[in-house]
Structures are given as structure tokens and as C-alpha cells.
């Protein structure tokens, strides 16, 4: 029986995981009132918790990979484990790419990308090597940094009188429907749906009972914080500006100017985003490590550096430029990866589990 991560650490880990990259991009600005998207997406996202918890509790909290094997049989189950490992690794690669794009555009314009990536993935691998307990404790450190940064940002923006309430208007100019549509198309799957990675660690995190509670609170907090930051972005940049900015929070931070002394907060924020991305990638990498080690029968630690390097290479090779990267993220990834792997496969697994292991029945 592995010792369990304590409740608060689990909560902070999930919170930082959900916030980390979502916070820079905000909700996709496909509709004017993007800050509403986050709030609306929260409700269907809770259904995902219900789905995942039902899946877990149907076979005594075993974690994603053993559940897949139980439901689909050895061979197909193993294939799914590989698919999930690759999927986690791919999301990690995407996050690394996001972060590198950010660093490239703000801090280090001419440093070669492979160098930045390599250094970063080594740190990720080192983080993942510590196991889920260490990652959880690391997350609680990161959370304070992120929250402190956000609070400072809001206060400074207020003092430099950049927050203009009228920027929010026109409110719901096209009605509620487009907002709901974006919520279902994007925000459920990113960031909320990515919580599926925590199913892998359920034996250490405490199973369905704890997950239901903790993840729900994590979702609520994420929803509040994300909507608040989205709102700040809209209030400072205006609807039109926000629509065309890639890193909206960063552009908002650029507007800070207090007595010509406190300026250029954007670079610092970029650095703080790094912490969040690091944590998120470490979690994905660890999940991939566990999956691969389950198939190839070695310790997860043996795969840390090789898989990390692979994620780094993916992040560079997967798309040619930043624009392609963003489009891929908003269109193809959602339909070909997020929806099948976050909704369809778990749903089918649940049904299979319910059929194969009915209550009272023994195999």
C-alpha cells in the first residue's frame, strides 16, 4: 500500500496543473466575452469528474493503466496504455513549445531553441524522478508564487489605472450561444479535461472518494481564478486587442507603469509561468513514464531522461512555426486527441467495466 499524498497537496497539485498554461493563454478569444467561457465550461467539466470517478470506483481505485487492461484485455489494454503514454508525452511537448515560444518572444530572442529546450527538459526529468509526492510538494511552492504574481499584477494594474470597466462592453453582443459553443469546443478539454492524467496516480492520491471532492474544489478554484484573469485581460486590453494577442496576460502586464520605476513586469511574469509549465510537464512526463514502464517492465525512473528528451524533440519537430502550433492546438488536437482520449475511451472503458464486472459477479 503506497503512502498517500496529503489532501491539500493533492489539491494544490491539481490547481497548479490546471492553471499553469491556461493562465497565459486564457480562454481562447474566439468570442467577445471570453471570460464567460471559463465559467460556462466549468459545469460540463464537472461531468468529466463524475465519469472518471465512476470509472475508478468500479474497480477499487486501481489507476488508469490497470483499469484499461482490466476492461480491454491484455493486448488491447496495452495498446491503449501506449496510446495514453504517447498522448501525455505529446501534451507535455506542446506545453514545452508554448513556454519556449514565450521565452523566445520576450527574453532570449537569438538563443538557439534546442539549447533552451534541452535545459528545460532536464529539469523536468529531474522533477519527475522525485515521484508524485515530491511533485505534489513542489506544486504547493509553485502555487504561492503564481497566486502572489496574479495578485500583484491585479494591484499594479489598478494603480497604473489601466483597468477600464467600459472595455468589457459590448456585453454578449451576439447572445449566449457562441459562448456556450466555445465552452464545449475548447475549454472543457483544455484545461479541465487534462485532469485525466491524475487517474494514473490514483493509488497514491486516494481513489475515487478523495478525487471527487478534491478535483471538484480544484475545478471551482481554477474556474474562479481563470475567469478573474480573463476579466483582467479584457478590462485592460479591450475586446479587440485581446482577440489578436497571443499571450494576453503578458500584454496586459506590459501596461503596468508606476512612476516610471515599476515597468516591464511582463518578463518577470514570463519567468513565473515557467514554474507552472515545469510542474505540468513533470506530471505528464511522470504519467508517461509509469505507462511505458508498465509495458516494458522496468522501473519508471529508467525512462525519465530518455522520455524527457523525446518530449523536447517532439516540441521542436512537431510544428514548423508558432502560427501552425496555435492552429494545431485549437483545431486538430481537440478533435483527434482530446475528445477521443478524454471522453470516448474512458466512457467505453466504464461501460466495459460495468458489463464485465457486474456487482457480485466474479471473473
Amino acid at each position: 500500500m503506497p503512502s498517500k499524498v496529503n489532501l491539500i497537496d493533492t489539491f494544490t497539485m491539481q490547481l497548479v496543473f490546471l492553471l499553469s498554461t491556461a493562465i497565459i493563454f486564457g480562454s481562447p478569444s474566439l468570442v467577445p466575452d471570453s471570460w464567460l467561457v471559463g465559467i460556462i465550461a466549468f459545469f460540463p467539466a464537472c461531468l468529466l469528474i463524475v465519469l472518471y470517478c465512476a470509472m475508478l470506483s468500479s474497480k477499487e481505485d486501481m489507476g488508469l493503466y490497470p483499469l484499461l487492461e482490466r476492461a480491454w484485455g491484455k493486448v488491447i489494454g496495452k495498446m491503449f496504455i501506449l496510446v495514453y503514454s504517447t498522448y501525455f508525452l505529446y501534451i507535455a511537448a506542446r506545453n514545452i513549445r508554448d513556454m519556449i515560444e514565450l521565452i523566445m518572444s520576450i527574453l532570449l530572442r537569438i538563443t538557439p531553441v534546442p539549447m533552451l529546450t534541452t535545459l528545460f527538459v532536464f529539469v523536468i526529468a529531474y522533477c519527475a524522478l522525485g515521484g508524485i509526492h515530491a511533485i505534489a510538494r513542489f506544486a504547493s511552492l509553485i502555487l504561492w508564487i503564481i497566486l502572489f504574481m496574479l495578485a500583484t499584477l491585479a494591484v499594479l494594474l489598478m494603480f497604473s489605472s489601466s483597468i477600464i470597466l467600459e472595455q468589457m462592453l459590448p456585453f454578449l453582443s451576439k447572445g449566449l450561444w457562441p459562448v456556450v459553443q466555445t465552452a464545449f469546443k475548447h475549454s472543457i478539454w483544455f484545461p479541465y479535461g487534462e485532469i485525466i492524467v491524475f487517474l494514473v496516480f490514483q493509488p497514491q492520491l486516494g481513489g475515487a472518494k478523495r478525487m471527487r471532492k478534491v478535483t471538484f474544489y480544484a475545478f471551482v478554484t481554477t474556474c474562479i481564478i481563470l475567469s478573474a484573469t480573463d476579466l483582467i485581460q479584457v478590462l485592460t486590453l479591450g475586446i479587440e486587442n485581446k482577440k489578436f494577442s497571443v499571450f494576453a496576460l503578458l500584454d496586459a502586464a506590459r501596461l503596468i507603469n508606476i512612476a516610471n520605476i515599476i515597468t516591464r513586469m511582463d518578463a518577470l511574469i514570463a519567468l513565473i509561468i515557467m514554474f507552472g509549465t515545469l510542474l505540468k510537464c513533470a506530471i505528464f512526463l511522470y504519467a508517461a513514464m509509469v505507462g511505458v514502464s508498465r509495458i516494458f517492465k522496468k522501473k519508471p525512473e529508467d525512462y525519465a531522461f530518455s522520455l524527457a528528451m523525446l518530449a523536447g524533440a517532439f516540441s521542436i519537430l512537431v510544428t514548423r512555426n508558432s502560427a501552425e502550433h496555435v492552429t494545431e492546438g485549437l483545431k486538430y488536437v481537440i478533435y483527434t486527441l482530446h475528445i477521443p482520449l478524454q471522453l470516448l475511451v474512458p466512457l467505453l472503458t466504464l461501460i466495459l467495466l460495468r458489463i464485465r464486472y457486474r456487482k457480485g459477479a466474479t471473473t
Binding site: N6, L7, I8, D9, T12, I103, L107, L108, T111, M115, L116, L119, F120, V123, Y126, C127, L129, G130, H133, A134, I135, R137, F138, S140, L141, I142, W144, N260, I261, I262, T263, R264, A267, L268, L271, M274, F275, L278
Partner: protein, 468 residues
């Protein structure tokens, strides 16, 4: 040694054979006293090491008792032993030994052995009386307000310093012997019922399985007790203190103290990151002041790690981050300086390290020279000569002062290595490197576990195994 397995008791009854035995065991050592005495009408022998006791003590506590009138007229020889043990040496630790082989280890520990011709027993009486430093104010962890007692080199004194703070039956001391050359006494102290018995077992196990030849300071044990396995040992996981009040405070928080005979530094395990930032004084003041100074220490710790690296990164990679007025003033100062910022900082940091090392090792009388050379020559003159800029001197001295804020010296000394690492990282890739360095440190901090207790966990209060 011509000892048969069955005849040990018989060996003791012949004083001649005992003398021969000691001769063969101790050789020609000059501090072994084997004195023939007469106990009443019987012939006896008294053996002890003169270096472990004082002649005064022997005269007053042993010889005087042996010469007392009741002893002079005992009914039998065996009754003399009874009487001596029960009445005369009742106040001293004593023991009846029937095995000759057991005597030399006793003598080495400072026991006096009394034998009577024809009696197959020996009486071992603790006559140890050693000169030791009296209790003084500790030199490392100074406080303005609070007890001024410090531990000494004598483990007995140290244990009594702890015991007099806990008038509690649950306080336990356990003895171990470490080092196959020195047989140093090591004691662990804990409050039974408070501590986690698993951790006590682990400590016992580690102490028993140690393979060291000699032990002169608790520093050696500190290495033994470090948690190995997860990652490199970059941060200390064993707290050490010269202050009884600090150690006792920790013991009330489920910790185990380890006292090494001969070392004034008592160790505490398991210890966590925050312990190294707590000074006992924090609790003796108004809590607001106490926590303010504690947070100041954390802040200083972060400063001492990052300031030089931040300076390098900002001046050589990200000038846009500095407010324009400050930037022009920095640029103006650095105009005539031949070196890039990173070389400049490294130069000054290394100079400071040498100064510090010299300052701690040199005799106190010449200490003033160091400060003159350090302050004048390396500060003022270096700037005037145009080797380094003013701002570098400010950065380096700020870092240096912050580095000394940590109340535990061993912690402060480890921080310096990370500072150099940060400097290198930020000279290579600027702020990105600095942040990666910080990440590495934070990961390292959260990965360490000291006896199963997380080293740094912000929410450990909610954890049942916590040792806040």
C-alpha cells in the same frame, strides 16, 4: 592469557594473577594504578586509571570509605563486599563483577576496581572525575533574550542540561558506543510517547550499523544520519545546536536529540527546512517580532542566493528590465571597467570567500588586520583603481551579509555553493538560467526526506506524520 572457561571466578581470588592479567592487558601504560590496600584485616587491591579520575576523588570517596571502622571488622570476606556496595558506595555507580575479562573495559571507562584476596568477586565503582569546561554562553547561536547556557564537551553535563529542563518521567536516554578505536559514548534522547517509534528505530539501526574508527565531534555522525538515496545531499537534514533550550524545544516537537561525548554540538533528527531558520529567541519575544525576523531570514536566504545572479542576468542580457534612470547610472559606473559583469562578480565573490575563510581560521589577535585589508584595500581601492564597479561591491556585500543571517552556520555555508551555481547559469543564459536554477533548488528541496519526513512541505500541518 591462560584463562580457562570454567575458572573465571577463581582467577579473581588470586591477586597475583589479577596483577599479571592487567600487566598483559595494559602493557606498560603509566596511568594504570594498581595499589595494594588493606581492607580491615584482609589484603586487597585497588586498580584505576589515574587519567580518568583525580587523586582527590580517590582519597575522599574511596580510601576514606575503605578505612572506615565498620569495614575494619567484618564477619567474613564476602560480607565486606556487601557492606561496601550497600553502604559506602551506594551514592556512586557500582557493580559486582565476577568475570576477569570484564574488568579492563570497566577500567577504561573510569571505574575503580576493588579486589580482596581469596574472594572470587570484584567490586567496580565509578570513580570517574574529569576536568571539563564549565557551562558557558554558546558561541554560535547568540540570543539577546533567553537562556545563556550552552552545551559543553562533556556528555554528562549535556544530558543534565536537558534533564533539568524536562522534569518528566518520559525523557529517555539511550547509550551507544561508536568507533572501534575510540569507543565514544553516544546518547540519544527523546520523549517517550511523543516521538515516532519508527524513527527512533531507524536512528538506533543507523548508529549500530555505523562503521567508523573514531569520533571526536558530532559532525561525523551528522553524515551517518543524512538521508541517502533520493538525490544528492545538498541541504543539511540534521540540525545541530549548542543551545539546550533549542534542542529541548525540538524534542517537544517529536524530535530525537543525539549527544556525542566530546562535542558541544547536539544533533537533532529529523529536521526540516524551516528548522534552520528558527532561532530560539523568536519564541521569547512578542510573536509578531519573532515571525517578522523569521520571514526576514527567508528573504535574506533568497537574496543571498539570487542577487549576484540577478545582477549579472539583468545587466548583461535583459537591460530593458531595469528602470531607465538606474540603467544609466549603472552604465556610467561600469564605463571604465575592463571585465564583463559576470567576471567582475565572480572575482569579488571569490575574494570575499577567501576573506571569510581567513577571518574564521586566523588567531583572534590578528583579526583586525583582516577587516582593514578587506574593507579598505578590496572595497575602496578596487573601485578607485577601476577594477570593479561600485555597484558590484554593493551587490557582493549585500549577498555576503544576507548569507550570514541563517541562524545555523552549516546551512549558511551550503548556500554559498548554490550561489556560485546560479552565477554560472545566469552568465550563460540570463534570467532563463536563473529561473531554471531556482526550479532545480526547489525540486531538490521538495524531494529530500529526512527519516521519512518531507524536508519542505508547506502544508505539512495537515499531514498526520508531521513534525512541525
Amino acid at each position: 592469557m591462560n584463562l580457562d572457561n570454567h575458572g573465571h571466578g577463581e582467577q579473581l581470588s588470586s591477586l597475583e594473577r589479577v596483577k599479571q592479567f592487567f600487566q598483559s592487558k595494559f602493557g606498560q601504560t603509566t596511568d594504570l594504578a594498581v595499589v595494594s590496600i588493606s581492607i580491615g584485616s584482609y589484603e586487597g587491591l585497588l586498580c584505576y586509571l589515574t587519567t580518568m579520575t583525580s587523586s582527590d576523588f580517590i582519597k575522599k570517596q574511596v580510601l576514606k570509605e575503605l578505612a572506615s571502622p565498620e569495614v575494619s571488622s567484618p564477619p567474613t570476606k564476602e560480607a565486606v563486599f556487601q557492606q561496601l556496595g550497600n553502604n559506602h558506595f551506594a551514592g556512586l555507580t557500582h557493580e559486582v563483577v565476577t568475570d576477569l575479562e570484564q574488568l579492563p573495559p570497566k577500567i577504561v571507562l573510569g571505574y575503580g576496581i576493588i579486589l580482596i584476596e581469596g574472594v572470587p568477586m570484584a567490586l567496580a565503582v565509578d570513580v570517574r572525575s574529569l576536568n571539563s569546561r564549565s557551562i558557558e554562553e554558546p558561541t554560535t547561536q547568540n540570543v539577546v533574550r533567553g537562556p545563556k547556557e550552552g552545551f559543553t564537551e562533556s556528555a554528562d553535563t549535556n544530558m543534565s542540561l536537558i534533564r533539568r529542563r524536562f522534569n518528566n518521567v518520559n525523557l529517555r536516554f539511550e547509550k551507544f558506543e561508536l568507533g572501534y578505536m575510540t569507543h565514544t559514548a553516544v546518547y540519544i534522547a527523546y520523549l517517550d510517547g511523543e516521538v515516532d517509534t519508527e524513527i527512533v528505530d531507524q536512528v538506533r539501526e543507523k548508529l549500530k550499523q555505523s562503521h567508523i574508527d573514531s569520533l571526536f565531534d558530532s559532525g561525523r555522525i551528522e553524515e551517518l544520519l543524512h538521508s541517502k538515496g533520493k538525490g544528492m545531499q545538498l541541504f543539511p537534514t540534521v540540525y545541530n545546536s549548542e543551545r539546550p533550550d533549542a534542542v529541548c524545544r525540538h524534542m517537544t516537537n517529536k524530535r530525537i536529540a543525539i549527544i556525542v561525548d566530546g562535542s558541544p554540538f547536539v544533533l537533532v533528527v529529523p529536521s526540516i527546512f524551516t528548522d534552520f531558520f528558527k532561532s530560539p529567541e523568536d519564541e521569547y519575544q512578542w510573536f509578531v517580532i519573532g515571525s517578522f525576523s523569521r520571514y526576514l531570514r527567508y528573504f535574506a536566504f533568497i537574496l543571498s542566493l539570487t542577487v549576484p545572479a540577478l545582477y549579472i542576468a539583468v545587466t548583461s542580457y535583459h537591460q530593458e528590465l531595469i528602470p531607465s534612470i538606474l540603467l544609466t547610472s549603472i552604465a556610467a559606473q561600469r564605463e571604465g571597467i575592463p571585465f564583463p559583469a559576470s567576471i567582475e562578480i565572480l572575482l569579488m565573490e571569490i575574494t570575499f570567500e577567501i576573506l571569510r575563510e581567513a577571518g574564521t581560521r586566523m588567531p583572534r589577535i590578528v583579526g583586525a588586520t583582516i577587516s582593514i585589508v578587506g574593507a579598505l584595500v578590496l572595497g575602496e581601492a578596487a573601485v578607485q583603481a577601476g577594477v570593479v564597479s561600485n555597484i558590484t561591491v554593493i551587490v557582493v556585500s549585500l549577498t555576503a551579509i544576507s548569507g550570514f543571517v541563517a541562524p545555523i552556520y552549516t546551512f549558511g555555508s551550503k548556500v554559498r555553493f548554490f550561489r556560485f551555481g546560479m552565477i554560472v547559469l545566469s552568465s550563460v543564459i540570463g534570467l532563463y538560467g536563473l529561473v531554471l536554477g531556482c526550479c532545480l533548488l526547489m525540486i531538490q528541496l521538495t524531494r529530500i526526506e529526512s527519516f521519512g519526513v518531507p524536508y519542505l512541505s508547506l502544508f505539512s500541518k495537515w499531514d498526520k506524520r508531521s513534525v512541525t
